[in-house]
Amino acid sequence: MLNSIGRILPDYVEGYGTVRPFMGAYENLTKVERKGVSALSNTCGGNKVREDLAELIGEIDIKDGMTLSFHHHLRNGDKVLNMVLKLIGGMGIKNLTIAASSLFPVHEPLVQWMKAGVVTQIVSNYISGPVAQAISTGELARPAIMHTHGGRARAIESGDLDIDIAFIAAPAADAYGNINGVQGPAACGSLGYAVSDAEYARTVVAVTDTLVPYPAQRVAISQEYVDYVVVVDSIGDPTGIVSGTTQITRNPIGLKIASQAVDVIEAAGYLKEGISFQTGAGGVSLAVAHFLKQKMLSKGVIGSFASGGITGYLVDMYEQGLFRALMDVQCFDLEAIRSFKENEGHQSMSASKYGNPHNKGAVVDQLDVMIMGATEIDLDFNVNVTTGSHGLIMGGSGGHSDTAAGSKLSIVVTQLIKVRNPIVRERVTTVTTPGETIDVVVTERGIAVNPKREKLREQLVDAGIRLVEIEDLKNMAYELTGEPEDLELDDRVVAVVEYRNGTVIDVVRMV
């Protein structure tokens, strides 16, 4: 069958089930039911603390086919997922589903558990490194499910993603299960992605290296959700927690793109009192924040909030008084963690509050301007950030689709060509984010507006922004690179890409 953006999908995918096709970004926003949760009472102050992870794993009765969840705030420094699987891997348990909000190169040991049949399904919002490679080449028995950050929260709340045991890496916890992200050697700030897991998993295990006296302060996940607190030597390597990309680009092409993106924001009328803004941590995206800051300072504009993964750059803008608040689902660097500890206006948000389309209001819906990247973008403005042009998985939506759908002005900033690959192209390898939610693409060789945004186009033209058609961008790129040959992929589906509402926007086939 075809979904509404013309991607060919199987009606049924073995190991996934019946495919509900994507029929539009704003379809399926109706009344929903949240799942019921069974909880084992812990009364009279029963002891939750276990000194040994192996002992706890023996106690909680992990069975074949269970779903174990993890969060990714420790990013490439995470030790908890590998630690848990190392203990479970040798127990003869099979067919586990690993629901990790993101997976990084550090999670390479997962590949061996995939090959051994211990792990037969992975559910995640972003996968990079050896695990992504192994999924792409067919090492995982069932197709992986790729969510958005908001979509994962939706899936957990609805019961689509039914978690048996949530292992929550806890930078600090007290003995009765109150967790915070601001103390201990692996302090990572916000714990936004772990909140739904804690609220909806049948069993919740806090794994910590820093046991603090009861009651813990600055609680991110509260005792009423937590069954056990396990104390281990170390939950994460602080050097891997900090993202490596939080520097403004020095590339003049990137700076040109960023400065043009700010011109677009101004021309579209958003550079005014109360502006809300989000940008990724890539070099060009951060440069947009840099130029926006100059404009806001020179015009005396005070924004309402900046959101998302928070970087030191946004902290700097907040501390200079350019935003009244920071809405933070995940701290990207040490500056953000410091600010999260110190600044009252620097607030945590859960993944559900951030981007779940099936709750009573997500932060993305309050967002004016979103700056985002793209691995590929097609003539209908559909964006791929899931696979590379070689067909291998190398990322995923994260908050891409959520913010594109929610924000009033979503701007893709990208070089037109990267390593010979035309970024603007006839057809993207995988659709992550539907073109109907993307408003503008800014490249060094031209700016194109989605033809569905007629009013925006007029505004930009009236303000003197020179526009081209997206076909022109594609032609300019192909003139330099040549037309890319079609990939020859196997028929087997190795990953199902779910849009934030749970419908299938595309599938990834085996390389």
Binding site: S389, I417, V419, E485, L487, E488
Partner: protein, 92 residues
């Protein structure tokens, strides 16, 4: 013309290509490694081949390590490698 002296040009940097020419008497053979081989491998090989033909080279083994070079870069690197070979050859 047969390539008699080994030579090279270019670099293994992003958006560049390293072209190495080796002596051979069995016609032009190309061994290409490229991050974009799936999408552009045939085109890159054809640019190398045509450039060699235009330079009058009939026999050589080309080892090409591509990091996303565009056609004009590939041509320039091939021509320089041929000229270096004619000038006595060098891997510098």
């Amino acid at each position: 013309m047969i390539i008699q002296n080994p030579s090279c040009a270019g670099a293994m940097e992003s958006n560049d290509i390293l072209i190495m020419l080796h002596p051979s008497e069995d016609g032009v053979q190309i061994q290409l490694e490229s991050k974009v081989k799936k999408q552009f491998g045939r085109r890159i090989e054809s640019v190398i081949k045509t450039t060699l033909e235009q330079a009058g080279v009939t026999s050589t083994v080309v080892i090409a390590r591509d990091k996303g070079a565009l056609d004009y870069t590939i041509k320039a690197r091939v021509i320089t490698a041929v000229n270096r070979s004619l000038g006595g050859g060098s891997y510098e």
